[in-house]
């Protein structure tokens, strides 16, 4: 089986063409980036604002727990069999819209929860001190709260990315786009070498994405926190990929 997977991976014709792995990889990366961007545009303003005014914490924190209880597979199925359908959506492939909606839905909880928690966990004394120095609400947010909350917010983005990549792979189970197709068609047709090859590619890209975001996390961390070791950034909420 391992040999079959190696053969599949090393055969260039499996990478090229309309349904080759390169096309599927680009399709899935495109889905991932789009979904993450949409999620951040929707989720971050809400989470950061709620954190700033200190309201809606119950909702923001429990959203992640609710998100975990709902199977991504079921949502993908409900969307594609339901009214959203499996129509081709430009570069996003078959069932593109259903997949994008599912990706955003499951990326929102970690982003909102971490965004909210990040702002709320900024030392209250520091916030009071900056108010005492005469900063107004807006200045407190942009100059104090946001920079200090950045590591936790970025952890949320990283968790969301892992979640999005995983969900995008599962989309293939409902005839959706992306690399999951290689795994699904391999396993459903007892061509296990092919399925394993697809799994390897998906896992490797997942690691690359993780490493890239850890790098980004370090870049945006405030200077005094930058020296902390990898993975030691304050991480209060842990979500799970699917």
């Amino acid at each position: 089986m391992l040999g079959d997977a190696y053969t599949y991976l090393t055969q260039w014709s499996n990478w090229t063409g309309d349904d080759g792995m390169l096309t599927l990889l680009i399709e899935q990366l495109l889905l991932t980036v789009t979904a993450l961007a949409i999620t951040m545009l929707i989720g971050l303003p809400i989470a950061l604002y709620l954190g700033h005014i200190g309201r809606g914490g119950f909702l923001a924190i429990n959203l992640s727990n609710v998100g975990r209880a709902i199977p991504t597979f079921a949502v993908l199925v409900l969307l594609s069999v339901g009214s959203v359908g499996t129509d081709e959506l430009g570069p996003y492939g078959r069932a593109g819209l259903a997949t994008l909606i599912a990706l955003v839905l499951f990326a929102l909880p970690p982003i909102i929860t971490n965004g909210y928690v990040g702002i709320r966990e900024v030392d209250r004394d520091t916030v009071e001190a900056s108010t005492g120095m005469g900063m107004r609400g807006r200045q407190v947010f942009w100059r104090v709260e946001l920079p200090l909350a950045m590591p936790v917010i970025m952890t949320g983005v990283r968790l969301a990315l892992v979640q999005v990549w995983a969900t995008a792979t599962i989309a293939a189970l409902v005839a959706g786009p992306g690399l999951g197709n290689v795994i699904v068609s391999g396993f459903y047709n007892s061509n296990y070498g092919k399925g394993l090859a697809g799994a390897f590619v998906v896992a490797v890209v997942a690691f690359v994405l993780e490493v890239l975001t850890i790098g980004a996390e370090r870049l945006v961390a405030p200077p005094h926190q930058r020296r902390t070791k990898r993975g030691e950034a304050p991480r209060r909420t842990v979500s799970v990929a699917v």
Binding site: V77, T169, S190
Partner: protein, 240 residues
């Protein structure tokens, strides 16, 4: 290999019987489906429950000693946490095929995969729980002559229990949801019904499987909450 063997055939809805799950009507909410396919639903739910419980138990059995080791040897802490976090980066639909290399197309593959996922939460929470035990308490116990093991079993674990149980609840709930992906190796519990529903455009089946899946997660959460309530009588006493 028949991938969807569990779900069986779905086209048996008789043409002369305009039931709500017939091809022509194909309704989402259809009580007749729940009745007619009762045994299928029970089988899938049972398999789902089996996989989830086995995975969480296995994960917990691995996580407990890992957390204790990470607590005792600070130098290993980073490695243990890093490894468990790295594991969850791999999407489950890719992890199961990789595990097939070792355990084949079996239920064991799904159970091991899900157990590995639960480690991230279980180790982290158990460790947080153990670390939250106040130093004074630990010192008092040592002063009273408690050895390391007795301290762990009689003082640290009971005090860490609420945080450990919180981790167990989160792990269980997410494992229920993840089990559906086991469909890739033909052991997905309710996921088998979802996959079958997609292939045959069978809405009643999809709806029933989705509802049962969320209900199972809720039910297990409540059970664990009950266990926690029973195991921490001192918290109740304080609250009253």
């Amino acid at each position: 290999m028949t991938v969807l063997s569990l779900a069986g055939t779905t086209t048996v809805a008789a043409a002369d019987d305009p039931s709500c799950y017939a091809r022509t009507t194909n309704e989402w909410v259809c009580w007749a489906y729940w009745q007619d396919y009762q045994s299928e639903l029970i089988d899938a739910t049972t398999q789902h429950l089996q996989i989830t419980v086995a995975a969480v138990v296995l994960g917990f059995v691995i996580a407990l000693p890992m957390a204790v080791i990470a607590r005792r040897y600070a130098s290993l802490k980073g490695g243990i946490l890093g490894l468990s976090t790295a594991l969850y980066t791999i999407p489950s639909i890719a992890l199961f095929p990789i595990l097939v290399l070792f355990t084949g197309i079996t239920m064991t593959t799904v159970i091991i995969g899900l157990a590995l996922y639960s480690l991230t939460i279980l180790i982290r929470n158990t460790l947080t729980g153990l670390e939250s035990v106040p130093d004074d308490v630990r010192e008092s116990a040592t002063g009273l002559g408690y050895g390391r093991t007795r301290l762990l079993l009689k003082i640290e674990f009971p005090l860490a229990l609420p945080v450990i149980m919180a981790g167990l609840r989160v792990a269980t709930v997410s494992t229920v949801a993840l089990t559906t992906v086991g469909v890739i190796v033909s052991y997905g519990g309710l996921g088998q019904l979802l996959a079958d529903g997609v292939q045959n455009d069978f809405k009643a089946e999809i709806f029933a499987a989705s509802v049962l899946c969320v209900a199972l997660a809720l039910a297990l959460d409540v059970v664990l909450l009950g266990i926690q309530w029973l195991m921490t009588p001192w918290v109740r006493a304080r609250g009253a």
